[in-house]
Symmetry: C2
DNA sequence: GATGCAAATGCACTTGTGTGCAAGCCTCAT
DNA sequence: ATGAGGCTTGCACACAAGTGCATTTGCATC
């Protein structure tokens, strides 16, 4: 029936959908399976089956379909496919993408997801609850199979609706105690502890910890453990935070700390960016030399830390392993037990800490 | 290894897609408009109209619909909506995402696109034609309104099918002569010329240009103009490339250049990353001091160039303006005249070049 | 109370897929 | 020759939305 009407319609251009003829930006000339079918002289089902793995098509029609598809430039519409089954879309909710560590994480994850046949949607958001909320909603709008949160803390209620809609929620390095979602995190406790031992072994006497005013759970945990372990060993720690997690904040923290009578000689910066800013201020503003006058430990292992001007001793986050674990999670059924998975940071020895005291 | 192509590539299909009824992980419990309609006691059309701007719904039913939607956690399915009208998806094809400059560009673009009501899909690809091709196919699979290419050079044929499908193609900083697509680019000619004048004004006598072995059109253009202008002024230029566009390559180039009898005293690095590596080697390996013994100009204005250890004089790319222009393009009808738009780089004066010769 | 008009509503069709079911076709063995 | 059995193939439906058109409802006016 519809075929008849289409045939009866003369070839003159359709009188546009509705509006005046002023412009016609409404055309959607994407070629569909039906067009391919008509051209190949087969049914639309045959086209669908040709592009479906394991479906039953004769070699002959398959050839005809592929030929017609090639000539027309046909590509399967994944949006339509996503109506029936999984969309294969994964949403990445992230803030501060320009930060080296975030860029690395996004890079690794998009790579791994792609290799697993997923496609990633980036939602560039702020860290406040408001924008995280609208990010989560976006995720639902596009029927993403999973939402991976790298920044910000989603509200428990919104996570609940995500889960209720059969969507997996994975938090990376967000140590917030939320139930129902997967939690990949680096072992911040070990980092805090090891950082202290590194500095003590180097013979440092006046310890400081530099952090940011963005009170992320990860940063707080590193701080807590470092201070606690130092206290157990009978050493006090000066804690300093001068702004967001950035080079400038680390720089400023150093100015403040060394502006006092006796600056520290052993510092744990909870982030490499902070550490590099701190190191630059210590050197250029106060003429200190590392590791002689000052030992410095960072966290993240960003590329810049390996540059000749810095050679920062730090801890690397095992992003590759985290990415592998993520795709493994996505492969499982939705009902897979949600829970926390902790990855060990890898100590990276460079030149900003003395090898031993003696 | 490549992205899942449109062809009948086996791909790694999840083995459970069509398996027996042994388990039921196939549930897609996403709540649809019909469910909301049933709960609210109205027709499905009413639900649709409630969420469509400007449609005619009484205040009463609207209230009922919104209430039911809230209770059920309903979110409009943008995939289904994308079947009829524009998908509002924009694909970003990018390689080397961890590079600071790329991360910045991706950050700005995702922000701008988001503000314009678009959603961005990241396709993390290699720069070879093969992976660019499968990236382009991915773009078509998801019916993206537009494809924005930040890395790699798509084949003319593939661009053609994109355009034939009504998809806009925007190349950013790819100066390849491809017809039919929009081209946003920074003025490399001006950069090369200005870089030379900066160095000459500083009184440099032995010029060098440091580039990478990745022969991007942008890099080649900067090199060509710099060398040409210098030649016109009667000065020779040593050109050096030691590897990909990275810190390490810049470092290596400096080792080679200063390992000779007379190293350069004025250098244009076509990329900031190269410049920072170059600077570090010049200082730490050869004890040079900037800008006394060596004047250095970069390009990109990455954050790291402003760090205290570097203070690199460079040119900034006006990404914000480019992003604004991009969303403006997307708002136009598809038939908008494709062409090239050139943006002026912004000179950033810092400390790596002497202010004047005298 | 009847009429007119506007707003609200519902039906049915559209978008592009994938797939269950049944029918058709071909081959082979009885 | 005929039925069994396996491969193909097409119909029709499902997925989740938006919307033109016709119909119904509500309300005011005559």
């Amino acid at each position: 029936m519809p075929l008849l009407t289409a045939a009866a319609e003369p070839a003159l251009s359709p009188p546009s959908t509705k509006g005046p003829i002023m412009s016609e930006p409404e055309r959607r000339p994407f070629v569909s399976a039906r067009t391919v079918a008509e051209r190949a002289g087969v049914s639309r089902s045959a086209v669908s089956r040709t592009f479906t793995d394991g479906a039953s098509v004769s070699e002959e029609t398959r050839r005809k379909v592929l030929e017609a598809a090639g000539e027309l430039g046909y590509h399967v519409n994944h949006l339509a496919r996503g109506l029936r089954e999984r969309s294969n879309i994964v949403c990445l909710v992230v803030a501060d993408m320009t930060t080296p560590i975030r860029a690395r994480l996004v890079d690794v994850l998009t790579r791994k997801l792609q290799a697993a046949g997923k496609v990633t949607m980036i939602i560039n958001t702020g860290t406040d609850e408001q924008s995280t909320a609208s990010a989560l909603r976006q995720t639902l709008n596009y029927r993403a199979d999973a939402t991976v949160v790298l920044s910000g803390t989603p509200s428990a209620k919104l996570i609940e609706t995500s889960l209720a809609n059969g969507q997996q929620v994975v938090l990376i390095n967000r140590d917030d105690p939320l139930t129902g979602c997967h939690n990949l995190s680096v072992d911040n406790e070990m980092a805090g502890r090891e950082a202290f031992f590194l500095l003590r072994r180097a013979g440092c006497r006046r310890l400081a910890l530099v952090t940011s005013t963005a009170s992320t759970a990860s940063l707080l945990e590193r701080e807590r453990v470092f201070v606690e372990v130092a206290k157990d060993a009978g050493m006090a720690v000066t804690v300093m935070a001068s702004g967001p997690t950035s080079y400038a904040s680390g720089y400023e923290s150093a100015r403040r700390l060394f502006g006092r009578s006796d600056g520290p000689d052993g510092v744990f910066c909870v982030t490499d960016l902070l550490a590099l800013g701190f190191m630059d201020a210590a050197r250029h503003e106060f003429g200190l030399s590392l590791p002689r006058d000052l030992c410095l430990v960072g966290f993240d292992d960003i590329d810049e830390g390996d540059w000749q001007s810095y050679k920062l001793t730090t801890f690397a986050q095992p992003f590759a392993a985290m990415g592998d674990h993520l795709v493994e999670l996505l492969g499982q059924t939705v009902a897979a037990a949600a829970g926390r998975r902790i990855f060990e940071p890898i100590p990276i020895w460079r030149k900003s800490v003395r090898p031993s005291a003696d």
